[in-house]
Structures are given as structure tokens and as C-alpha cells.
């Protein structure tokens, strides 16, 4: 009985679709369009001049460096955490999962603050670091630490449900057939989880490159030195150099669009393998 009564009248359906599309267009699409419009308002030459200017280039380089350190670290952690949680039974597992997800509910500003309290001039290790001339806050290590904190749960959170649902029978079979532990991991587990892993790394990277609040606290905002791309956007915006601010922002918007496209491609093509995540 898929009677007509189970569906809304065509007019109601059309209206609901229209409102949903209009809301998404107004709330999400319009801001995205605004970034691209403002960035290209004065033409491609101005856009190119803004993104190829030395401070902008240095901010792009810094953003890539920070992500290149933070993302692999959290990937290794994520795989290790998912392996321990999905393949074994031990007390306190639920609490461990909750602790791994903790950074999601911490304000980005607090995520940066914690490292200032530890490594800043008045922090726990501040005097010691100063004596040994090691710079953490207002330098690259601080930016990396804050980024690692903020992106901490991304990979683990995708892999834990996926690997739990997959169970360990494939791995057990490989071990029975004489494979070593590492062989089993690389040849059985990694191929099984590759799309979930890719998905987690993708989201982790997007957040790592786009993080603003946490790195803002630890950066010191030195142009050409400790400004990542989002911080450079803020600096240019506060100088009323709107075209340049939106030009750098448009690169980040592009990153977001590429991330969304890849994410959707993974979801559509490998929905079965990822079913456990959603």
C-alpha cells in the first residue's frame, strides 16, 4: 500500500523542496559566491598580485607545512586508536572514545590557550624553554600543536565505527595462513579501510589548513613568518585591503570545494564500504 496518502500533495512537496533549496542557497551558497565575487571584483590581475605577493606566498607555505606535519601525526594516531578499540576488548573503552572526541567540544580559542598556558612566557615550561632558546609559542611548533589538538579526532572517528563493523575475521584468517602482524596490517587491514581512511584524512586536512581560532592564539601574527592563510586573511581584512583578503580567502574556498567534491565522490562510489560511518 504505497497509497497517495503516504505522500504529500505535489504542491506541498514542491513548496518544501523550494524552501529547502532557497534556504541552502541563501545561507550557504550566497556566502561562497560572495568570496569569489569579492576576490575577482578588481580583475584577475589584482587577484594574482594579491595571492603571489611575498607575505601571501609565505602564508601559503606555512599552511602547507603545518598541515604536512599535523595530518600524518593524527593519521598514525587515528589508525592506532581504531586498531586498539575495534580489535580488542578492554575496560574503559567507552571513556577512551569519549576522550578522543573531546577536542570537538572545546572552543578553538581554548585549544590554542592550553598551549600558551604550557609553553608561553608565563607558562609551565616557559622559563625552561627560554633558557634553552626554544620557541614554541609564536613559532611553528605552537602552530603545529594547536592544529594537532583541533584535528585530533578526525581520522580516529571515521575509522572506529568502520573497523568495528568489519570485525577481525579477515585479519585472523591472514594470521592463520602464516602472515606476520605487520603483513596482516598492510595487506589486509589497510586495503579494507582505505576509503574510510582517505575520508578521515581529507576532513582532517581541510580543518588543519583552515583552522583559525586556535592558531590565532599561538601565532603572534608576524606577517611573512607566523601567519597561516586564515590569519593572513584576517590581517589583510583588518587593513581594509578587502580585495587581497578575499583573494587569499578564495584559495581557501577552493580548498573547501575540492574537499567537498572528493568527499562526495568517495561517498557515492564507495557508499557500501562507508556504510558503517553513517
Amino acid at each position: 500500500m504505497t497509497a497517495a496518502g503516504l505522500r504529500e500533495p505535489a504542491a506541498a512537496k514542491g513548496l518544501l523542496i523550494l524552501v529547502a533549496v532557497a534556504y541552502v542557497a541563501l545561507m550557504l551558497l550566497l556566502p561562497l559566491g560572495a568570496v569569489l565575487y569579492e576576490a575577482l571584483r578588481k580583475g584577475w590581475e589584482m587577484w594574482w598580485a594579491a595571492v603571489s605577493e611575498p607575505d601571501a606566498r609565505s602564508s601559503i607555505r606555512l599552511t602547507l607545512i603545518v598541515a604536512a606535519i599535523a595530518v600524518p601525526l593524527n593519521t598514525i594516531f587515528g589508525v592506532a586508536a581504531a586498531w586498539a578499540i575495534s580489535k580488542f576488548r578492554f575496560p574503559g573503552k567507552t571513556a577512551l572514545i569519549a576522550l578522543i572526541e573531546l577536542p570537538f567540544s572545546v572552543s578553538p580559542v581554548v585549544s590554542g590557550l592550553v598551549f600558551v598556558l604550557m609553553f608561553g612566557a608565563q607558562g609551565w615550561f616557559g622559563p625552561w624553554l627560554e633558557q634553552h632558546d626554544i620557541h614554541v609559542i609564536f613559532a611553528l611548533p605552537g602552530l603545529v600543536l594547536a592544529t594537532v589538538f583541533v584535528t585530533f579526532p578526525f581520522v580516529a572517528r571515521q575509522l572506529i565505527p568502520l573497523m568495528t563493523a568489519q570485525g577481525s575475521s579477515d585479519e585472523e584468517a591472514a594470521l592463520t595462513l602464516g602472515a606476520s602482524g605487520w603483513q596482516t596490517f598492510w595487506r589486509v587491514t589497510v586495503p579494507n579501510i582505505r576509503f574510510g581512511l582517505l575520508y578521515g584524512v581529507l576532513l582532517c586536512n581541510a580543518r588543519a589548513m583552515g583552522e583559525f581560532g586556535a592558531v590565532s592564539v599561538v601565532s603572534g601574527h608576524i606577517r611573512g613568518e607566523t601567519n597561516t592563510m586564515p590569519l593572513q586573511v584576517e590581517a589583510l581584512y583588518n587593513d581594509y585591503d578587502f580585495v587581497a583578503a578575499f583573494a587569499v580567502a578564495s584559495l581557501l574556498a577552493l580548498l573547501a570545494l575540492v574537499t567537498l567534491a572528493l568527499k562526495s565522490a568517495i561517498e557515492w562510489r564507495y557508499s557500501d564500504e562507508l556504510a558503517a560511518i553513517h
Binding site: M1, A3, G5, L6, K13, L16, I17, A20, V21, M27, L28, L29, L30, P31, L32, V35, E38, F77, A80, A81, S86, F88, F90, L102, P103, S105, V106, S107, P108, V109, V110, V114, L117, M118, G123, W124, F152, G167, S168, S169, E172, L175, T176, G181, F185, L203, A206, G210, F212, G213, S216, P230, L231, V233, F246, A249, L252, A256, T259, W268
Partner: protein
């Protein structure tokens, strides 16, 4: 879950020590020890200083704005997020996949980019601000701007939480309701809404928690005037810039406690949701 519930001793897989070791070490160094610094530092100058900073009139006004705007934004998203999820799950229409992919834009778009884009739209020269401002409803540089930014940030939390649950509401119960003479609207409010209520509440809590700590998308569009349009994360940064570490830590402490309370509530909600699904 087959294979997931094996005992530790009977699991033939290697690597528990290594993977759990990495997990706990990384979790401690990146998350637990740094977070404990906030609590220790906030109390380092005594309870009196803590309360003077954490409960100052300026801090109270900032909490009210951050948490109030986050609650309002999350409530708006519950209405429109449910509508969008409904349209995505129940109807097929051209562009549905694109609409579905776009929902995650706030996850992928760096917050600073969202912030300057929303400001460009809602300022008195922007295409939305040009309409709203003469109509006596200014948004940019007002508390309303904070709500707009948090509504932007929170939409995917509600849609993504409600979507899978809505897809699983069995058509049998809807058919039963229809057979018993319920109208479509009655079926929605008496049958469908109760079964998705836990998911909707979870989405609200997630959007609320994220919004309360949000910084990047808000500071550009908020006026940042103390007592009026200054959010709590910004006040932390202001305290930090005045080298008032204990004050910054005290406000961070209050925000953390509230996030933890929300997190605890979320776990209860998920428990409720699972029991309902079972």
C-alpha cells in the same frame, strides 16, 4: 556486531600494546595534559581571583551572548535542518545530490572565510544588508550578526544527525497511521516527529556546543563591543593580550565545564536514541 566482542585473551591479533600505547600517549600529551593546564592555571591565583575573572559582569555578558546566540542558531537550524533533511531523504528531484553535498560546506569552509563573506553580505553595503538595514533590522556588527554566523556554522550538524534516522523511520508505521485514519500532518507530528526527536535533540546539542565556542566566523560580523556584542572566546583572547593568563584560564574553565556538561547530555541522548532504535 560479529567479531567485535572478543575477549582480550582470546583475540589472536597482535598489536594491542603498541596501538593502545600510542593512543594513550598521544591523547595524554596533546589533549589531557594541556587541558589540565587550564584548570590548574585558573586556580593558581586563588579562588577569589578565579571568581573575579570568571563571573565579572563583562564575562557574564559574554557568556550570555555566546550561549544565547548558539541556542538561537541551533533552534533555527532544527527547523530548517529538519526541512532540508526531509527533502533530501524523502524526495527525488534534480539537484538533490548537489544539495546534499553542499550541506557540508560549513564543515569544509575555513571559519575566517565564512566570517568575512557573511560580513560582506550583511554589512550595509552588502546585498542582504542593503535590504535589511533600511527595514530597521541591522545585522552586521550587532548581536544578530552572531546568530547569523552560528546559524551558518550549525546547519550540517542538524541535517547530518537527522538524515539517517529519518531514512529509517519505517513506512509500516506510517501506513498504519494512515489506515487508522490519521492525516498526513497528524502522522508527521504524532508518529514521525517523536521517533526522530532524539536525533533532533542530538543535532541541536552538537550545533549548540560548536556555536558556543565558535570564534572565526563570528568576530568579523560581531561588533565586538564589551557587554554588547563581545563573545566569550574573544574575551579570552583579550585577557591573554593583557597578559592576564589566570583570567583567560578562568573564563576558559567556565566554557569547558559547560561544554563537558553538553557532552555528557549528548551521551545520554545517544543512549536514549539507541534504546529507541532497539
Amino acid at each position: 556486531m560479529p567479531g567485535a566482542g572478543r575477549g582480550r585473551r582470546t583475540s589472536p591479533l597482535p598489536g594491542l600494546g603498541l596501538s593502545l600505547g600510542i593512543t594513550i600517549l598521544w591523547l595524554s600529551f596533546i589533549v589531557l595534559i594541556p587541558l589540565s593546564a587550564v584548570f590548574v592555571k585558573s586556580l593558581s591565583e586563588g579562588g577569589h581571583t578565579f571568581w573575579a575573572a570568571a563571573a565579572s559582569p563583562r564575562a557574564l555578558a559574554a557568556y550570555r551572548l555566546s550561549f544565547g546566540a548558539a541556542a538561537l542558531g541551533a533552534a533555527i537550524n532544527c527547523v530548517f535542518g529538519l526541512l532540508v533533511a526531509w527533502v533530501l531523504v524523502r524526495y527525488s528531484f534534480p539537484g538533490r545530490r548537489l544539495l546534499g553535498a553542499l550541506i557540508d560546506l560549513p564543515f569544509a569552509l575555513p571559519t575566517a572565510v565564512a566570517g568575512i563573506a557573511l560580513t560582506a553580505l550583511y554589512a550595509d553595503t552588502g546585498i542582504i544588508g542593503r535590504i535589511l538595514e533600511p527595514a530597521g533590522f541591522p545585522v552586521a556588527y550587532k548581536p544578530a550578526g552572531v546568530v547569523v554566523a552560528l546559524t551558518f556554522i550549525g546547519l550540517p550538524f542538524v541535517v547530518r544527525t537527522v538524515e539517517p534516522v529519518l531514512a529509517e523511520v519505517s513506512s509500516e508505521v506510517e501506513e498504519a497511521a494512515l489506515t487508522l485514519g490519521a492525516t498526513r500532518l497528524q502522522t508527521f507530528s504524532r508518529v514521525i516527529l517523536p521517533s526522530i526527536a532524539p536525533a533532533l535533540a542530538t543535532g541541536f546539542a552538537l550545533a549548540f556546543a560548536r556555536g558556543a565556542g565558535e570564534y572565526g566566523s563570528v568576530i568579523f560580523i560581531a561588533g565586538n563591543v564589551p557587554f554588547k556584542s563581545e563573545i566569550a572566546p574573544l574575551l579570552i583572547i583579550t585577557q591573554l593580550e593583557e597578559y592576564n593568563y589566570a583570567g583567560a584560564a578562568a573564563i576558559a574553565c567556565v566554557m569547558l565545564m559547560i561544554s563537558f556538561a553538553v557532552l555528557f547530555l549528548l551521551n545520554l541522548l545517544q543512549h536514549w536514541q539507541h534504546r529507541r532504535a532497539a
